[in-house]
């Protein structure tokens, strides 16, 4: 785990800063500091947390917020399967260790490749968890001190954050096509459906992922 912590050291401030952003943004959806911290500790998946907060803040309701967040986290099922063979011990221990699988810990430990290292996965995951939860606590407490979130431009920060998360995903033509399709579906549906529905409907754009095999 120590080697994992060393690999993750440069990521620590970044994860803490992003956690702080989430903590502040949670204020716009009326999450109090404790709710934001509990969410970071249990969900531990940035984009889905911001998505849930964003849908709630737009008045989309609990169901739409939860579905949108869990769709974003659906990738953890296949990601978990690629590293499943390395987990040992009781089901409860495996369940607990599996929570340390996030995009960064999976990628940096060589997930899905032959050089995959289970201890690095856990080391990076544990370190990022502390950075993420600690950053959230700082941001959430700062967020509570802020009166009107829109006065600080926090509503505009959401879109910028999602754009940054999206940019990291555009690895190939299929993903770019899916992004364009998702954006188009959302833009068309926003005037006609309650908040949250356009996000969920955008998953129809996964048709862009279809490949003849």
């Amino acid at each position: 785990m120590r080697k994992g912590a060393r690999v993750a050291a440069p990521l620590f401030p970044a994860a803490a800063a992003l956690g702080a952003s989430f903590g502040v943004l949670a204020r716009t959806a009326h999450l109090d500091a404790l709710a934001a911290i509990v969410m970071s500790a249990t969900t531990f998946a940035g984009s889905s947390q911001v998505a849930a907060v964003s849908v709630l803040g737009a008045g989309g309701g609990v169901a739409a917020a939860v579905v949108a967040a869990l769709l974003l986290n659906a990738r953890y099922a296949p990601i978990g399967i690629t590293v499943a063979h390395s987990f040992r011990g009781s089901p409860l221990k495996r369940l607990a260790q599996a929570q340390l699988v996030v995009d960064e810990s999976w990628a940096l430990s060589g997930g899905g490749t032959t050089r995959f290292d289970h201890r690095i996965l856990l080391g990076i995951g544990a370190m990022l968890w502390f950075a993420w939860v600690g950053g959230t606590a700082l941001g959430a407490l700062a967020g509570q001190a802020i009166g009107d979130p829109s006065a600080f431009g926090l509503d505009g920060a959401f879109a910028a954050l999602f754009a940054a998360l999206l940019a990291a995903q555009l690895l190939d033509r299929r993903r770019i096509a899916a992004a364009l399709g998702g954006a188009a579906i959302a833009a068309v549906l926003v005037p006609f459906t309650p908040p949250g529905i356009p996000i969920i409907a955008a998953t129809a754009a996964v048709a862009a992922g279809w490949r003849r095999r």
Binding site: M39, T42, S48, A69, G156, A159, F162, P191
Partner: protein
């Protein structure tokens, strides 16, 4: 339970299960390649939809306003390879600035 706490509990519980599916239940097996292909592109589709609704949506309708300045400045920061937290700060500052001067 408030809407906020209900969402926190449901998203947390659902994510714990999604992360544990592989390590607890299906160790050693693989997903059908067609399913894996589709799961690859779920995140880009949803994140792109979130960019649109956060930048333009307001309740039921498209309402372009100062947030566009935030996205624009954020995209410039992304193109300059700024870290994500800086993109967030730049986006908020540009939105607040555009709102103050308009």
């Amino acid at each position: 339970m408030s809407a906020a706490w209900a969402s926190v509990v449901a998203v947390g519980a659902g994510t714990v299960v999604l992360k544990a599916v592989g390590p607890v239940a299906v160790s050693g097996r693989k997903l059908p390649p067609r399913v894996a292909d589709l799961l690859d592109v779920v995140a880009p589709a949803i994140l792109a939809a979130l960019v649109v609704t956060e930048a333009l949506g307001r309740g039921r309708g498209l309402a372009p306003d100062a947030r566009l300045a935030g996205v624009g400045a954020g995209l410039v920061a992304i193109a300059l390879r700024a870290p994500i937290w800086l993109v967030v700060v730049v986006g908020a500052a540009a939105t607040a600035l555009a709102r103050a001067v308009s």
